[in-house]
């Protein structure tokens, strides 16, 4: 009890004001991350960064990769259906109460996970926790509410930017099924995914063995209480195995630009050392200008491409539970697209990584990671992904140390692994974009 009193807001304010340097609005930059696994295999991560804003996230390994051909697009519908009536609360009650408290609730999904995140001031978040647990675990998908979602799904599809479609197609070409599934429901599935299909998807994927609860700015015991109050099945569910296959997809859409994504196999979460090396490789390849308003990028890629056209390139990487991708995404004017793509492929296939590249990559990666962990909303997403995919979470210091331990040899190994078999996906005006087998 005494420890609880010391944690209440007023004492915290006195503590930070009186005995320590005042924490910035975004919270302190270095904080302890506590990880705990409940008997039902639910991972609980809690951290306190002394920020006045708190975030709680409930994450499940239920992303698009778990869809099969029967329920293709279920993840998109579930993401969009966040906030619809649940077992005990109506859509109106959820929206009204959360808005009244001034909190915000979002559902975020990627290929591996779906996370429900509640953000707001500490008091608001504590009061809104019941709505978060309802929305995340007690879905019912009333058919008449689902029918109204169709238009919103269509708008989501229509407003996808081309660079996003390039990344989508890259996954489709590289993995075909599983991780190849799009984050968006295909057009032919809109209105065809029934309430029962979604219920089945939720009951088989939203289980405690596939979930995690992450709190940033909430008490450890509060987080325990929240985690234990969730009523979840503890089955392991089915994992869609999707090894890297490689291939090519072209989607001619016209316009003045070509968006090309080229990537090879990256590292999986299961191999943290390789994953870190791949992340350093991505930064060494170059992720666009790092200095404000500059157009110069000193990465390996821009040196290899060496073009004066108004193009942009960025190395991309993705780390999934069993495999990954690392490569480059290019936006180029249609005329110059061929040359630029050839340069990028050359860099990926036979690029030379120097010690200086690795050092620069490490610095950039560390900066990016630490900035991520300072910003509460990105930190809670990062912690959630680590917790649900790797079963643990690293504090900012541990992450920085892990980045430091990467050697040049590791990065070279990651590049040669990626260059072994490349996947190419291109969208836009493809008149000058070469086919995969024409690239040497």
């Amino acid at each position: 009890m005494a420890s609880n009193i010391a944690k209440s807001t007023i004492f915290r304010a006195v503590g930070t004001r009186g005995y320590a340097q005042l924490a910035p609005v975004s919270g302190s930059t270095n904080y302890q991350v506590n990880v705990k696994t409940l008997p039902n295999k639910l991972v609980v991560v809690s951290a306190d960064n002394d920020s006045p804003l708190a975030r709680v996230s409930i994450v499940f390994r239920a992303g698009a990769r778990n869809e099969t051909s029967e329920n293709l697009g279920a993840a998109h519908v579930i993401r969009t259906a966040a906030g619809l009536s649940t077992q005990n609360m109506t859509q109106f009650a959820i929206t009204r109460n959360i808005q009244q408290l001034g909190a915000s609730l979002t559902a975020t999904s990627d290929r591996e996970t779906i996370s429900y995140t509640l953000e707001g001031t500490r008091q608001a978040v504590e009061k809104a926790l019941p709505y978060l647990t309802e929305v995340a675990t007690q879905q019912v998908f009333k058919p008449w509410e689902l029918a109204e979602l169709s238009d919103r799904l269509r708008i989501d599809l229509a407003t996808r930017p081309l660079q996003l479609r390039a990344v989508d197609l890259l996954h489709k070409a590289a993995f075909r099924t599983g991780l190849g599934n799009s984050l968006y429901a295909p057009k032919f599935q809109i209105g065809k995914i029934s309430s029962e299909t979604l219920q089945h998807y939720v009951s088989s994927n939203f289980t405690s063995a596939r979930g995690a609860v992450v709190g940033l700015g909430l008490d450890e015991c509060k987080m325990d209480e929240l985690a234990q109050s969730l009523t979840l099945d503890d089955s392991n569910g089915h994992v869609n195995v999707s090894p890297y296959k490689g291939g090519e997809i072209r989607s001619d859409k016209g316009g003045s630009f070509a968006f090309m994504a080229v990537a090879g196999e990256g590292a999986s979460v299961k191999n943290p050392k390789e994953a870190m090396a791949t992340a350093v490789l991505q930064r060494a390849l170059g992720v666009g200008p790092q200095i404000k308003w500059s157009t110069v990028d000193n990465g390996i890629l821009s040196k290899a491409i060496c073009s004066s056209e108004g193009y942009a390139s960025s190395a991309i990487s993705a780390t999934y539970s069993d495999t990954g991708l690392v490569g480059v995404l290019i936006a180029a004017p249609a005329k110059a697209a061929g040359k630029i793509l050839e340069g990028a492929v050359k860099a990926l296939k036979s690029g030379n990584v120097t010690d200086a590249d690795v050092a620069r990559g490490k610095n950039q990666l560390k900066t990016a990671l630490l900035l991520h962990l300072e910003s509460g909303s990105e930190a809670v997403e990062l912690l959630g992904k680590q917790a649900v995919l790797a079963g643990g979470a690293m504090s900012p210091c541990e992450l920085a140390a892990a980045v430091d331990s990467v050697s040049t040899a590791d990065v070279r190994a990651a590049l040669s692994k990626a260059g072994r078999k490349l996947t190419i996906a291109s969208v836009g005006n493809l008149s000058n974009v070469p086919y995969a087998d024409d690239l040497k």
């Binding site: 959360i98 975020t108 407003t159 200008p289 960025s314």
Partner: protein, 269 residues
């Protein structure tokens, strides 16, 4: 059905220039009506292009209850509210300063307001007068309220009694003796001190109400100790000016309002 003889048809395509009933195309399609949505790519410099590219290939998409997806449609068929019909013509021209016409507009407004105010005040006054005058006495009542007396009919030294508004009215044609007597009475000794001049307009004529101020009896003229009036009920003596001189009455006899329209007529009331 895919028949061998039709397969060749799938390797070419033809379009008919003039339609007829003989060559009908095989399949019927219903073209869906689509609402076009254009998402133009905004990058036109190397910097904005590079900012538009995602770094993380594991893209995530967020949505939430309430207002997470916001679509704004631009409408061209909404009438913009127009108040031109109600506006002053002097201020409608956008090329002229409205301050230039301010004085004339104000003058007009003040004139109209002033005119309306004055006429409505006059109307209100006449309406109120009409209502209030309905409460006052009618003409027949007013006619009864006055009495006109011919003075030539009253000889000197005589007091005549008339009926006026239901009360006795004494008109006395005083003799020079009586006048001089009453003029010389010491006012200080009187119970209700009044000089004779205050009680008469013309010293020859005394006009008083014949009601004793004690208990309202009618006094008798030309009797009593002072040669004026005497009340037989309780013995109040009044003098020839109608002043109380002796007895229980507290006040002098009341003098009504009267005028002399001509030399030989008296109008009381």
């Amino acid at each position: 059905m895919l028949k061998p003889c039709t397969v060749s048809g799938y390797f070419k395509s033809a379009s008919q220039v003039v339609s007829n009933q003989l060559n009908v195309s095989g399949t019927v399609a219903v073209l869906p009506t689509r609402k076009p949505v254009q998402i133009p790519f905004q990058g036109n410099s190397a910097l904005s292009l590079s900012r538009a590219l995602p770094i993380n290939a594991n893209v995530s998409v967020s949505s939430g209850p309430a207002v997470s997806t916001q679509i704004r449609w631009a409408h061209t068929d909404i009438n913009v509210p127009n108040f031109d019909d109600y506006r002053n013509p002097a201020t409608k021209n956008p090329n002229k300063k409205s301050t230039d016409s301010e004085d004339s507009r104000k003058n007009f407004t003040y004139l109209v307001a002033g005119g309306l105010g004055a006429s409505s005040a006059y109307a209100a006054k006449s309406v109120i007068t009409q209502f209030v005058s309905s409460m006052s006495a009618s003409a027949d009542v007013l006619a009864l309220a006055k009495i006109e007396i011919k003075l030539a009919d009253i000889p000197e030294g005589k007091s005549v009694t008339f009926k006026w508004r239901g009360k006795p009215l004494f008109i006395r044609h005083r003799t020079p003796d009586e006048i001089s007597t009453e003029q010389s009475v010491a006012v200080n000794n009187l119970r209700d001190p009044q000089h004779d001049n205050e009680r008469v307009q013309n010293p020859e004529w005394l006009v008083v109400l014949g009601v004793c101020t004690h208990l309202g009896c009618v006094p008798i003229a030309n009797s009593g100790d002072f040669g004026g009036y005497y009340c037989p009920c309780h013995g109040s003596h009044y003098d020839a000016s109608g002043r109380i001189r002796k007895g229980p009455a507290p006040l002098n006899l009341e003098v009504p309002a009267y005028t002399f329209p001509t030399d030989d007529t008296l109008l009381v009331g």
